[in-house]
C-alpha cells in the first residue's frame, strides 16, 4: 500500500518537537494583540486594561527566551518537513501543506508577568486519498503551562500535507 509515513516517522510518535519558554508577558503585548484581532473596533475593556489576555493570545510570537528540540531547529518555519526535522527523523518530502484545524481546551488565563512554557509533541499520522492525491494528516499536541505549573491550554493541531 502506498504511504508517505516511514518507519522512522512512526518511531518518532510521542517525540518532543519543541519546548519553548516565553519572555514574561507584558501588558502592551496583551493590549496590542487585542487591538489587532478586534480592529477596527475597540477590544473589551479587560484587554485594554490588560487584566488578562484573550484566550487566543500567543506569547511566543517574535521571540522566545529558550527553545529546545529533539531534532534540528528548522531555519525555515514554513518548511513542509519542519515537523520531522524537529522530531529528529527524515520527513516525507511532500510539497504542499495546509493548516487543517485546531482544537484547544483552556485552563488558567494568561496575565501580565506570566512566563509560559510550551511543550509540543508529535501525536499521530493518518492518510487518506483526496482530490489532490494521497493526503498526510499529522496531529501535534501542544501543552502550555504557566510559571506555577498550571495548565493554560492544550491544543491539537492537524497539518495536512500532499
Amino acid at each position: 500500500m502506498r504511504t508517505n509515513v516511514s518507519d522512522a516517522m512512526r518511531g518518532a510518535l510521542g517525540n518532543l518537537l519543541t519546548r519553548r519558554t516565553s519572555y514574561p508577558v507584558a501588558e502592551s503585548d496583551i493590549r496590542k494583540w487585542a487591538l489587532a484581532v478586534y480592529w477596527p473596533q475597540r477590544p473589551p475593556r479587560a484587554f485594554l486594561d490588560a487584566s488578562r489576555a484573550p484566550e487566543d493570545f500567543n506569547p511566543f510570537a517574535w521571540a522566545v527566551a529558550t527553545t529546545e528540540s529533539t531534532g534540528r531547529l528548522a531555519a525555515d518555519a514554513n518548511a513542509a518537513d519542519r515537523t520531522e526535522l524537529l522530531a529528529g527523523v527524515p520527513g516525507p518530502g511532500l510539497q504542499f501543506q495546509l493548516n487543517g484545524g485546531l482544537e484547544t481546551e483552556y485552563g488558567a488565563p494568561i496575565r501580565p508577568g506570566d512566563v509560559i512554557t510550551s511543550e509540543n509533541r508529535l501525536d499521530s499520522y493518518s492518510e487518506r486519498e483526496g482530490k489532490l492525491g494521497l493526503m498526510l494528516f499529522t496531529v501535534t499536541e501542544d501543552t502550555w503551562t504557566n510559571q506555577d505549573d498550571v495548565v493554560v491550554k492544550r491544543s491539537r493541531m492537524t497539518l495536512i500535507r500532499y
Binding site: A36, Y38, W39, P54, E55, D56, A61, L98, G101, Y106
Partner: protein, 139 residues
C-alpha cells in the same frame, strides 16, 4: 442532567455576529502581533502563485474571530473552556467575514452549567470558512 434552558443561555440562541471586512488592513495588523509575515498573506502575486485569486488571510485570525464572537456574547457570564475549528476555505481579500454561533446544548452537572455551541466563520455569500465547536462554562 440535560436541560433545554438555563437562566442565562437558551438552546437555539444565536450569537450576535462578529463582522469584519477583511484585507491587508486586518491581516497586516495581525501579522504584526503574531509575527506572521508570510508572502501569501501580504502579496496578491504570492497568493496567485499559490492558486488563489488574491492574497489570503491567516487561519489564525479566523481562529481569533471565533473566540471574539463567543467572548462578546458571553461577557462576564462565564468563560470559554474549549474551541475547535477546521479551516475549510481561504479568506480572500475584500470578503466580509462573519463569525457566528448558535447554542446547541445546555447541561447542568453538580451545579456547573455548561453550554455547547456550534461556531463558524462565513463569507457574505454564506460560504463557510472555518466551522467548529465551542464550550463555555457559566459562572
Amino acid at each position: 442532567m440535560t436541560q433545554q434552558t438555563s437562566t442565562a443561555v437558551t438552546v437555539g440562541e444565536e450569537l450576535p455576529p462578529f463582522v469584519r471586512e477583511t484585507g491587508l488592513e486586518n491581516w497586516n495588523r495581525y501579522a504584526a502581533v503574531n509575527d506572521e509575515f508570510v508572502p501569501i498573506h501580504m502579496d496578491d502575486e504570492a497568493g496567485k502563485a499559490a492558486g488563489y485569486p488574491s492574497a489570503l488571510g491567516m487561519g489564525n485570525l479566523q481562529w481569533s474571530y471565533l473566540h471574539n464572537v463567543v467572548r462578546d456574547w458571553l461577557g462576564d457570564r462565564g468563560r470559554i473552556v474549549q474551541i475547535s475549528c477546521q479551516f475549510r476555505n481561504p479568506n480572500l481579500k475584500g470578503q466580509v467575514v462573519s463569525a457566528r454561533g448558535v447554542v446547541e446544548q445546555v447541561t447542568e452537572e453538580a451545579g456547573v452549567v455548561t453550554a455547547q455551541l456550534r461556531v463558524w466563520t462565513e463569507t457574505q455569500d454564506g460560504a463557510k470558512l472555518a466551522p467548529g465547536t465551542a464550550t463555555v462554562v457559566l459562572d
